[in-house]
């Protein structure tokens, strides 16, 4: 191999400098990849059948290619005791980029998806306000709106990796309660100003119109900051499973507080201590006490490719890629290790909106065929660094499943099998 084509190794076990993603020296690396794997189809090319007959015409609402039918949510089965309750998970390992398509946004319902007729739906602000107000869906559509890209993560996301033995599952099963979309709606502060919050107010309580009337309490300071009533998701009316016709959207905070099917905001002087902020969504500590109202999601990243249950089919160059996010600002840095955390290299982070949104990272990796442990470690603009699993586990009771943001380890065997491991 001549020096021009020699990849610039930056950390152990084959990690290559991120500049090689940007076109510099790619020729050499590319030829290495081609030499080892491509070219399987060598032979005469013929014109395919679809190039010889007209295809289907336009449609009213598009659908994925039947050949991409595997790109779907990982949905749990129906619950016998709690009808409509449960989750479906975003197939992170099958997506590239940062935006989650609406049909693949994760779901968590506590009593199913209500079939709401927007003409009958009412949204009420009351409590410690000068004038309680009722709004129709049509009313809200007439307000000035804002559009922002935000991640949404369930507080229980990745909780699977808090159990004693690492499950042999994939990135969706472990980390798929995470999505990112462009949300458009009316700032809650606009509507609270119209109702006139009184001096005694310190909290709001938000309640949905689902059968469980899911409710959460949120400090007024956050409600007046960046919280919106979202009406559009990636440009179209938000999906029923995301709260149609309207949901609260609380950027950077655990997903459960972004109350779907929003019907009530009661302004109060104290939290309501709803069941989903006492019995659930509280974080048990080793001494038996619990943290309550742990709202922001911690700094976190996960390699989505290669990831659990994938198989590397050839040696040579692979792109390590994944997503990183934080509820405390923006991602500043993502480091990758291919040797179980002994050495690290900076990944390239794609440009784009970074504040409270998913960041996409990439780094080239030369797999020699030797076993490897791939990890990613994110740092955010508030200087929070993603913890290792041991230190996260030590901070909580072993039964706590909320707010797990530890480093994910994927082992790669000599046969190329990628597996979820604790390392």
């Amino acid at each position: 191999m001549d020096t021009k084509n020699n990849p610039e190794y930056v950390a152990g076990n084959g990690l290559i400098h991120r500049r090689h993603l940007l076109g510099l020296g790619l020729a050499g690396i590319g030829s290495m990849a081609a030499g080892s794997a491509l070219g399987a189809d060598a032979g005469m090319l013929s014109i395919p059948a679809w190039s010889k007959a007209p295809g289907n015409g336009p449609s009213e609402y598009g659908a994925p290619s039947p050949f991409a039918a595997n790109v779907k949510r990982l949905a749990g089965g129906p619950s016998a005791t709690a009808p409509g309750s449960g989750v479906s998970r975003t197939p992170l390992h099958l997506l590239r980029g940062t935006i989650t398509p609406n049909s693949l946004h994760f779901e968590r319902h506590h009593s199913g998806v209500p079939a709401i007729d927007p003409a009958q739906h009412r949204f009420v602000i009351h409590g410690l306000v000068r004038q309680a107000l009722s709004f129709s869906y049509e009313d809200l559509l007439a307000y000035p709106m804002v559009s922002q890209i935000y991640f949404l993560e369930c507080s229980g996301n990745s909780g699977a990796n808090t159990v004693a033995t690492a499950g042999d599952t994939n990135a969706a099963a472990i980390h798929g309660l995470l999505s990112c979309a462009e949300w458009t709606g009316v700032r809650l502060s606009t509507l609270l100003a119209e109702a006139g919050v009184t001096d005694a107010a310190a909290w709001i309580t938000a309640t949905g119109a689902d059968a469980a009337s899911m409710g959460r309490s949120i400090p007024l300071s956050k409600a007046l900051d960046d919280v919106m009533i979202a009406l559009y998701q990636n440009g179209e009316p938000i999906r029923p499973e995301q709260g149609y016709p309207m949901r609260l959207f609380v950027p950077g905070w655990e997903g459960n507080v972004s109350v779907k099917w929003l019907t009530q905001i009661k302004v109060t002087d104290a939290p309501a201590h709803f069941r989903d902020e006492t019995s659930k969504y509280t974080d048990l500590l080793p001494d038996g006490k619990s943290l309550q109202f742990t709202y922001p999601m911690g700094v976190k990243s996960v390699i989505t490719s290669p990831s659990g249950q994938m198989k590397l089919l050839r040696q040579g160059i692979h792109e390590i890629t994944g997503v990183a996010w934080t509820g405390h600002g923006a991602i500043r840095r993502v480091e990758i290790s291919a040797d179980g955390g002994r050495t690290w290299a900076d990944a390239h982070i794609e440009a784009g909106q970074q504040h409270l949104a998913l960041a996409r990272f990439r780094l080239p990796w030369q797999w020699s065929g030797a076993p490897a442990i791939l990890q990613s470690r994110a740092t955010d603009s508030s200087n929070n660094v993603q913890p290792g699993r041991d230190s996260w586990m030590a901070a909580y009771n072993s039964a706590n499943r909320y707010h797990y943001n530890a480093i994910q380890s994927w082992s790669v065997s000599a046969q190329g099998d990628v597996k979820n491991v604790y390392a």
């Binding site: 009593s111 007439a142 409710g215 038996g288």
Partner: protein, 182 residues
């Protein structure tokens, strides 16, 4: 509704009048909303609709109930899932017993929840899962009393009502650290 809104939009478009109401209190110096379409409503109109019960008892309804009365409600409407003694079953959580300090801990209404108001609030809005909001306020008081009694929090004939419920001391009342200000 449609008429009112059309007129409002025309007025805004013409720039003749700002419909926003000047705020007092938190946003005294914020500009009035250029669009202000909320319809005034009174708390009285929301009396049957606002189900939120606060730990201080705010918004608890009239009525009352005891555990002795709640046993029948519980056996009929809850026991099939949560077990005859509240011990839980596959797919439905235990409601009583347990402890935060065993390994693993067993978190129940009795061993974990800081406020009795949450039990009333949750059962009224969400239980049973097949027919939420089907219980009368009296039944909710009764079955709340029964669940609390099963854990030994209140006596069998303790009368739970809007005055006594907020005073019920839950065993894990001091078990939570509020980090909302962090």
């Amino acid at each position: 509704m449609f008429m009112r809104k059309s007129v409002s939009m025309l007025v805004i478009a013409a720039g003749v009048v700002t419909l926003g109401v000047a705020s007092i209190g938190f946003a005294a110096d914020a500009p009035a909303n250029p669009v202000a379409l909320g319809s005034p409503i009174t708390e009285a109109q929301l009396a049957d609709w606002d189900l939120i019960v606060a730990p201080d008892g705010h918004n608890l309804p009239e009525g009352n109930g005891t555990a002795a009365q709640g046993q029948a409600v519980y056996q009929q409407k809850c026991a099939a899932c949560h077990g005859a003694g509240g011990e839980g079953a596959s797919g439905s959580p235990a409601l009583v017993g347990g402890s935060v300090s065993t390994t693993p801990p067993l978190l129940t209404v009795g061993s974990y929840w800081p406020y009795a108001s949450t039990l009333f609030d949750y059962v009224r809005r969400a239980m049973p899962p097949t027919a939420p909001k089907s219980l009368s306020n009296t039944e909710v008081y009764q079955v709340t009393a029964y669940v609390l009694h099963l854990h030994g929090v209140i006596a069998e004939n303790f009368v739970l009502d809007k005055n006594t419920l907020p005073a019920v001391q839950m065993p894990n009342r001091e078990g939570f650290i509020d980090v909302s200000a962090n």
